[in-house]
């Protein structure tokens, strides 16, 4: 291919850009995590962090703060951000719809409804919230898939069904809150969405699940790329279109379910991060699915840092910061659309 070497440059450039973006994001992610551990109302020095990391004896207060407050919180932010971002990328690719995200197809509303329901049924068992959130997300994913199957599995069907389920579950949530206001006490932290008071023990199980599903998500890139050729063409290439969609939607629901069980109903990450990633590294889903979790984790980690330091000693929920910062950024991406920023 000697005659096309000039053009080969274009491919190499894209590879180089992806590598640089990955390395830069990982580095930033590390910095954000360290900042997240060091900064807070009780000051913890970098030496303490290093000492703990290498198993040397550290000051007792600092060790307590790191183990019980900061580390769980940073982990929760990273995991929730990573999960929601990849969930958004999976859903957008599976439905070939740039507007899709976990909350658009009703996963968040379903989780919220189930958490409230659990708070009604088991008023004294707070541990139920994550499980209920996960079941809710999965339940909505199942409903969406059933409707898509009955309605001819057009991509529009899925989005419209998602809107319907959001309406239904939101109505259910409001009904519960009016009939049984006590349920709100058990579920308030969850419904507002935020990372304050996260415990390490609450993060471990959903965190492990997120890691496993993230890897499964990475494996779906090639198939989702084929889907962008159109259903019939993908089918003709030997892709099982239905199974590919199902796998992506179920993975996304599992990720979103785990994420909301850690961080409550934070939504915007799943919509904006995939778009930002595509603006950075292009549309190849193998890359988008690898990059999205990193950028999502970084974004939520930084926003949580802002959320607890901007108005210290008061703390605003991370979801609010995400919307305040993410909204304008998203508008910027939309305006760049003509220049290849936001495609589709």
């Amino acid at each position: 291919m000697a005659n096309s070497c000039g053009k080969c440059g274009r491919a190499l450039q894209a590879d180089g850009r992806f590598a640089v973006a990955m390395v830069a994001t990982v580095a930033l992610l590390g910095c954000a995590a360290v900042l997240g551990i060091v900064i807070g109302s009780t000051s913890v020095g970098l030496p303490d962090v290093l000492a703990l990391a290498f198993g040397a004896p550290a000051e007792q207060t600092a060790a307590n703060v790191i183990w019980n407050i900061r580390l769980p919180r940073v982990l929760a932010a990273l995991l929730a951000g990573a999960a929601l971002a990849q969930a958004g990328a999976l859903i957008q690719a599976a439905l070939d719809n740039p507007l899709a995200s976990p909350n658009v197809i009703g996963v968040n509303a379903g989780s919220g409804f189930f958490v409230l329901l659990a708070a009604c049924a088991f008023p004294n068992a707070f541990g139920f919230a994550p499980v209920a959130a996960f079941l809710g997300a999965l339940c909505v994913a199942g409903l969406i898939f059933a409707v898509a199957g009955l309605g001819g599995s057009s991509r529009l069907t899925v989005v419209l069904a998602g809107m319907a389920f959001t309406a239904i579950f939101t109505a259910g949530m409001n009904t519960i809150l009016i009939v049984n206001p006590d349920a709100y006490v058990g579920a308030s932290g969850f419904l507002i969405g935020g990372l304050s008071g996260v415990k390490l023990s609450e993060v471990i199980v959903p965190g492990c699940a997120i890691c496993v599903v993230l890897v499964l998500g990475l494996l779906q890139g090639t198939r989702l790329n084929l889907l962008s050729l159109g259903e019939h063409q993908a089918h003709s290439l030997g892709l099982n279109v239905r199974r590919t969609r199902l796998a992506a939607l179920v993975s996304a629901a599992a990720l979103a379910g785990c994420a909301v069980s850690i961080a409550g109903l934070v939504g915007f990450v799943g919509l904006i991060v995939p778009h930002a990633v595509r603006a950075l590294v292009g549309h190849d889903n193998r890359r988008v699915l690898a990059m999205a979790p990193l950028l999502g984790g970084l974004l939520v980690c930084l926003c949580d840092l802002l959320a607890r330091t901007m108005f210290a000693p008061y703390e605003i929920p991370v979801g609010i910061v995400l919307s305040l910062l993410g909204g304008p950024f998203f508008v910027y991406l939309i305006l760049r659309r003509g220049k290849g920023g936001l495609n589709g």
Binding site: A11, S228, L237
Partner: protein, 259 residues
């Protein structure tokens, strides 16, 4: 052995039957055109053959294999379809052509040296070596169609179906695509089956023509056989007059008839 064989196939959309007990056999190693008025079932025929739609009754065989018993990838190694509408996917021409290798890969395998060679050959055959790194969205209609044909070539199935490959193309791009289709047969030994809207293109470039109307096969044979031309007149409600040009080509002229 037939490339695609439909026996006793009934099929339709919703409650309405389009085909009832249709029998059709497409020869191997030929360029076959399927022509007929809108809604006669041409595209449905390709959808059945490629497994996008399942028949209500009857059986479909691809190169002797029962189509319903094949896995998606097994089928895609025997038969490929270039669908009528395809959005410009957000990838480079090379990546698009690489997609054609998908059915040859296992669950986790990726492109190897042999695959890259097939892709390079397909790009060269379709005259796209220079454009390989360009985004598909930046190509003209004719170039884009060539890129998809290169993908089909990389898929390397012995039977290739085209669903109206020349719609939306200008005249020279039409001829280019038709010639590429013929070269698939002549140089790569493929069986080519195409739904063609332009009857002159179909008559000029095919070895065999199937004329359909309302879900029935009216005639099947060489392009200028009297029986085929009569079926075309019947299917489209026209009278045909063949003009023979000095360069050895012929052109069909039309006059609508009232039924």
């Amino acid at each position: 052995m037939a490339s695609v064989q439909l026996s006793d196939v009934s099929f339709g959309y919703g409650e309405r039957a389009l085909f009832s007990r249709l029998d059709l056999e497409l020869a191997q190693g030929k360029v076959t055109s399927i022509i007929g008025p809108n809604g006669c079932g041409k595209s449905s025929l390709l959808k059945l053959a490629s497994g996008i739609c399942k028949p209500w009754e009857g059986s479909i065989r691809v190169l002797g294999h029962d189509a319903s018993a094949l896995s998606s990838k097994e089928r895609a190694r025997l038969l490929s379809l270039l669908a009528q509408e395809h959005a410009a996917p957000p990838m480079s021409v090379r990546r698009l052509v690489e997609c054609g290798r998908f059915p040859h890969h296992g669950m986790f395998a990726t492109m190897d040296a042999a695959d890259y060679e097939v892709v390079d050959r397909a790009l060269a055959t379709c005259g796209l070596a220079e454009l390989a790194e360009y985004p598909v969205a930046e190509l003209s209609g004719g170039q884009r169609q060539r890129a998809f044909i290169a993908m089909v070539l990389a898929q390397d199935a012995p039977v290739v179906l085209f669903d109206e490959p020349t719609s939306f193309l200008d005249v020279s791009a039409c001829y280019e695509v038709m010639e590429l289709m013929r070269s698939l047969k002549e140089e790569h030994g493929k069986t080519v089956v195409a739904v063609i809207h332009d009857i002159n293109l179909a008559l000029k470039y095919s070895d065999e023509v199937c004329v359909m109307r309302a879900g029935k096969l009216l005639a099947q044979g060489a392009p200028h056989e009297a029986e085929v031309l009569a079926a075309v007149e019947d299917a489209f409600d026209v009278r045909i007059e063949l003009l023979h040009g000095e360069l050895g080509s012929s052109y069909a002229l039309w006059r609508r008839t009232k039924r």
